[in-house]
């Protein structure tokens, strides 16, 4: 894999199982580089399962099995010679609930780079990462204070800073604002717009308005099947699949 070239993801015939349960069915699609793709669908439709398969987080679930290919820079991330830990450096993840470590703000951002043996200027990396998530003005005077003392919205932006500090190419986000108030949510959404200039972003969200606002493309999943995938404008204005229309207009799900 050569992270210097394009940074999209190509899925070819992906099937995901939890034991006997077939959670994601024969899914083929392309996540374009430097675009935001929203995965939408009712609870249990397989979107978070799919998201976690994109950086091999599902490997951590013993009963989980993934078939098919997830191609990143021309290489299947599930090939036997690919290190899943390295995959997670290239393809980072931000979770639903902000999960800063019980350490200082500085150490939270430095942590990933440090365990990866980062040899550059750590202070510069931390400052740049915090600036990129528009948190700098709020924390510049308290970098040595506990991260857990920050508000929920600030913690989530700190977690995003922690993710980008290890210089991923793709950021996966699993309902990143569902635990946040509208102001914090707006800040994260503004941040997404900025981040997509540098990163490919795949976001799972239950908030249809958010999916409409932030994403370039949207994929609607139902019972493990990709029902519709296309430009967000089309999905929200004139979806081709009546199931998509019923879901996004809140008539089921």
């Amino acid at each position: 894999m050569n992270p210097e070239t394009s940074a999209g993801l190509d899925l070819k015939g992906v099937n995901i199982f939890y034991g006997d349960f077939h959670a994601v069915h024969n899914l083929s699609m392309t996540f374009q580089s430097r675009e935001i793709t929203a995965l939408i669908g009712p609870s249990g439709c397989g979107k978070s399962t799919l998201l976690r398969s994109l950086n091999r987080m599902n490997d951590l679930i013993p009963s989980s099995r993934t078939e098919g290919e997830v191609i990143f820079h021309g290489k299947n991330i599930y090939d036997a010679d690919v290190d899943p830990v390295q995959v997670r450096r290239w393809i980072g993840m931000v979770f639903q609930k902000p999960n800063p470590f019980p350490k200082t703000i500085f150490e939270n951002v430095a942590w990933g780079a440090r365990i990866n043996g980062y040899k550059g200027d750590m202070e510069e990396l931390v400052v740049t990462s915090i600036q990129r998530v528009a948190l700098w003005d709020e924390v510049k005077d308290k970098l040595q204070k506990p991260a857990l003392a920050l508000s929920g919205g600030q913690q989530q932006r700190l977690c995003i800073a922690r993710t980008i500090a290890v210089k991923p190419e793709i950021i996966l986000m699993d309902e990143p604002t569902s635990a946040l108030d509208p102001i914090s949510t707006a800040k994260i959404e503004d941040l997404l717009d900025e981040l997509k200039k540098s990163y490919t972003i795949i976001i799972v969200t239950h908030n249809m308005q958010q999916a409409g606002r932030v994403s370039d493309k949207a994929a609607f999943m139902l019972t493990g099947v990709m029902e519709e995938f296309g430009p967000t404008d089309q999905i929200f204005f004139n979806p081709k699949n009546p199931k998509t229309e019923a879901y996004i207009s809140g008539r089921f799900g």
Partner: protein, 215 residues
Amino acid sequence: MREHFTQEILGINQDMQKMSVLVEENIRRSLKALTSQDAKLAKEAIAADAKVNELELAITDRCVLFIAKEQPVAGDLRHIVACLKAVSDIERIGDYAVHAAKRAKELADEKYIKPLVDIPKMLTLGLEMCRDGVGSLVNHDRALAIATAARDADMDNLNKQVNRELLALMFEDKDNIKQATKLQFLSRILERMGDHAVTICSWALYSVDGEHSEL
């Protein structure tokens, strides 16, 4: 699911139809006022337009509030936007009914220079096109929208016919000019009724297809 959402769309559709019915009633009043030269009825038609205007504003507010509170998407959003746009066209058709009533009031004491045949036909056609245009919008009826819009050709032909006849009458006798000019102007205004009904039909198609169509 989303019972209130569904009920609110139904309510907006009912308001649209109610507005259409008010306009249709007023076209009928104007028509009768013209043909029976009834100035009193003409005045009633002029006054009745206030209700149409009120309802236009009420529907606009209801649609805006619905968008703000319910955040419709896809077909629902297109339908509400189509209603927001079409409501202005219904209101304009109502204004043309008032215009006809005003002419009826002016001409109530004059002997017509010719029996009114095509102008009443135009009013009836405008009434039907307005009713069916709104019907096609609220019922998502593509075929009705296309068929209704096609009737505008009849409206245009009637307008041409009226103009030809009035022009001949003006050449025949210069004393006819004053009334003929008024009737010509009325005919042109009624022709615009058809154009606004066509616009309503095009919004009906937009609601169904998600595309702007030339009708």
